[in-house]
Every structure is written in structure tokens, then in C-alpha cells.
Amino acid sequence: MNGAHDLGGMHGFGPVPDKADDHPHPEWYNRAMAITVVMAAWGRWNIDASRRAREDLHPAQYLRYGYYERWVDALERLMLETGLVTEEELRTSEPQGQPLTPPVNADGARGMLRRGGPTERDVATTPRFRVGDRVLTGNDHPFGHTRLPRYARGRTGVVLRHHGGHVLPDTNAHFLGENPEHLYTVQFLARDLWGNDAQEGDTVMLDLWESYLHAQ
């Protein structure tokens, strides 16, 4: 979706902030991160759906929010969407009904972090592209979640690497299945993306699914 999250190339944000990173973070950052990570243990959504929920914010709200506020807002909406909490519970902070049993304790949470969530999957089809092939990215503007940023649509690049099959975020984010596809790293000339202000010879790499690409 063409949301405020698709920031690549935007002007106006000024210098990169906090480069020294030399002051302590508020404790609620940790709490927000940990709540978000551990709630995934219910298995009601996936990482693509989490990203989709953050992108669904109104563009003005996306930019107004701090990083972890986006996470918390998205988490609340995912919990509502999947029936883990009600509007009233969120409004009042008072749980209704009998207490549930959390899916993971401390050891279970450590196990989640250790295992992670690999996205590599077998794909029955042979890869359509080989390393060195020229490819053209689609100029598509889907209403839903996608991982092809606006700045790289309708551009020509060269396949640098094939990563095997990976879960397709475009469908997984909407609970429409994993639909794994071949994933490639595609190299673009910076000048083909940004014009002559870019340095000649500099390049930009993106990881792109096969359905984002056309043979050139």
C-alpha cells in the first residue's frame, strides 16, 4: 500500500537523529517491544500481518507516532481483529470473563527468540530468473501490503542472488496464505532510481519476490 511507511527517498526529515545513541531509553520501549513479541505466541497473526497493521495507520498518525507507539497501536488492532480482546477491555483496561492461560512462560519466550520464524519454504516451480538476468519491476500499486517500495517500481535491475522460496508477504499479511515464491536480491544502479544526483557506479539492492519481477 502507498502508505506513510514507504519512506525511501522522501525529503524533509532533516539530519539523522540520535546518532551517538548515548542516552538511556524510556523503560516503556522495552515493555512495548516485549509485549508485542510475546503476544505473537498466540499464533493469531504473523510478522507480515504485524507490519500491515502498522502501515494501516493514517499517514499523518503514522508520522506523528513514535516507533513503539506504532507497534502498540498495531498490536491493539490485531488483538481486536482476532478476538483476543474487546473494545471495552481496551477502553477500560479491565479484563472480562475468566482469566486465560498464557501460551508461553519465561522459558517458552526464550525458546521463541531462539527459534525465530524462518520464512524459507519449498517452492515446486523452477526459478524463473538466474543470477545475471535483467529484470523489470512491476509498476503496481496494490491497496494491500507489499514489499516493493514505490521508489523501485517500474525499474530495471540485475539479479544478484537467488534465496530459494520464501513466504510471500503480500498474501500472508492478509491471512490469504503463505504462497511462497522464489526470492531474489536485485541490484539497481542508484542513477536509475534517483537520477544524476546519485553517484555513478553506486548501486541499491532490494530483496524481491518473483511475482514482483518481469523478464527484460
Binding site: G9, H11, K19, W28, Y65, S93, A106, L113, A198, D202
Partner: protein, 210 residues
């Protein structure tokens, strides 16, 4: 938070984030959706166990062991797991080698994808709108802000982490570190240098020879 506040109507100003998170944590633990011990385990892990020290050990090992370096470049996931680092946001790793000819820099323009297993939780600057917007369009200007001055002949390779592949930059080993122990070398490897937004410290930066 006001009684008339409605969480999901964004025409209202949201509550102060610390209070919002506190209220949410309280609700989730009392409802039995979250075990408080699980939260502590996660915070503890990323505060004390999983952070840039992991990546620094990987880099230092690659500096002293050419076979390991080659393995890291060929199959970073396996080579990094060999040192004990694997899991969430490090499931599929690729290592990128910085040289005099090529400088790699990593960004995630769409969100904040970052190799947690070797670098921990991303710093604020990596998640900032400014970095996400600018690194991909003007990496050299961004690098200058970080104090990294590149020769025009050095090619910048900018990696936008659009899938679940996570990138670890291997900075160049500083001159004057021949014979250093892996542990002393790891002290030279900064977090920023493993994103490409910095270079490794020089011996002078850490008080000379080790």
C-alpha cells in the same frame, strides 16, 4: 486516560505512550494473555545477552580466520549459528564485506528490519524517518553525517532489507592490529560499523596496542 477516550478513533489525541503501554500490560497480564515472566525474559535477553557484542565476535573471528571469513560470506546463517547466534530476526543472514573498493550500508526503508541475533534491538537512528528516507537516496551524505568519508572511487552498495534476509556488514580490519587477540579485536568492532554507518575503531581510539 480520560473516560471518554476511544482508543481507535484517531481524531482523538492518544494517551501518553508510557501510560498507554502500562495500561495495556496490566490488562494483558490480568486477562492471562501474557505471563509477566515471559516479558521479563524477553527484556532480559535483549538487555544482557543479545546485542552488538555478538556481531563483534563474528567479525573479529572472520578477521583472524580466513576459512571462517569465506564460510561467513558463503553461508552467513550457518557460520553465525556456529558461534551460537541464531533465532528471531536472524533466521536468514547474509554477510557483506567492506573493502577499499566497496562500502556496504544497510537500511530498511519500509519498517526497521535489522539483524537482532547479532546486533540486538536497532538503535533509534536506524528506525528514524530521516535514516529510512535518506540512506537509500543519498547514502554518501548520510555517511558523512556519521563521520564516514568515502573516496569517489569507492562504490556504495546500499541494501534495503525488504524481505526476511538480514544483513551483517563486515567492516575492514584496522591497520596496526596484527597479532591482536580476537577479544581485543572485537572491542574495535562497533555496532554502527556492522550496519555500514561507521568503521571499526583504530588502535589509537582504544589506547594503543593490545
Amino acid at each position: 486516560m480520560g473516560d471518554d477516550h476511544h482508543h481507535h478513533d484517531h481524531s482523538h489525541v492518544p494517551p501518553e505512550p508510557a501510560l498507554r503501554v502500562q495500561a495495556l500490560e496490566s490488562l494483558l497480564t490480568r486477562k492471562g494473555l501474557v505471563d509477566p515472566g515471559a516479558l521479563e525474559a524477553i527484556i532480559e535477553t535483549y538487555s544482557n545477552e543479545v546485542g552488538p557484542r555478538n556481531g563483534a565476535r563474528v567479525v573479529a573471528h572472520s578477521w583472524v580466520d580466513p576459512d571462517y571469513r569465506q564460510w561467513l560470506l558463503d553461508d552467513a546463517t550457518a557460520a553465525i549459528a556456529h558461534l551460537g547466534y541464531q533465532g528471531r530476526q536472524g533466521e536468514h543472514m547474509v554477510a557483506l564485506e567492506n573493502t577499499d573498493q566497496v562500502h556496504n550500508l544497510v537500511v530498511c526503508t519500509l519498517c526497521s528490519c535489522y539483524p537482532w541475533t547479532v546486533l540486538g534491538i536497532p538503535p533509534t537512528w536506524y528506525k528514524s524517518e530521516a535514516y529510512r528516507a535518506r540512506a537509500v537516496r543519498e547514502p554518501r551524505a548520510v555517511l558523512e553525517e556519521f563521520g564516514v568519508h568515502l573516496d569517489d572511487n569507492t562504490e556504495v552498495r546500499l541494501w534495503d532489507s525488504t524481505a526476511e534476509i538480514r544483513y551483517l556488514v563486515i567492516p575492514q580490519r584496522p591497520a596496526g592490529t596484527e597479532g591482536w587477540s580476537e577479544e581485543a579485536l572485537a572491542d574495535l568492532v562497533t555496532r554502527d560499523s556492522m550496519v555500514g554507518a561507521g568503521v571499526a575503531r583504530r588502535p589509537d581510539d582504544v589506547g594503543g596496542a593490545a
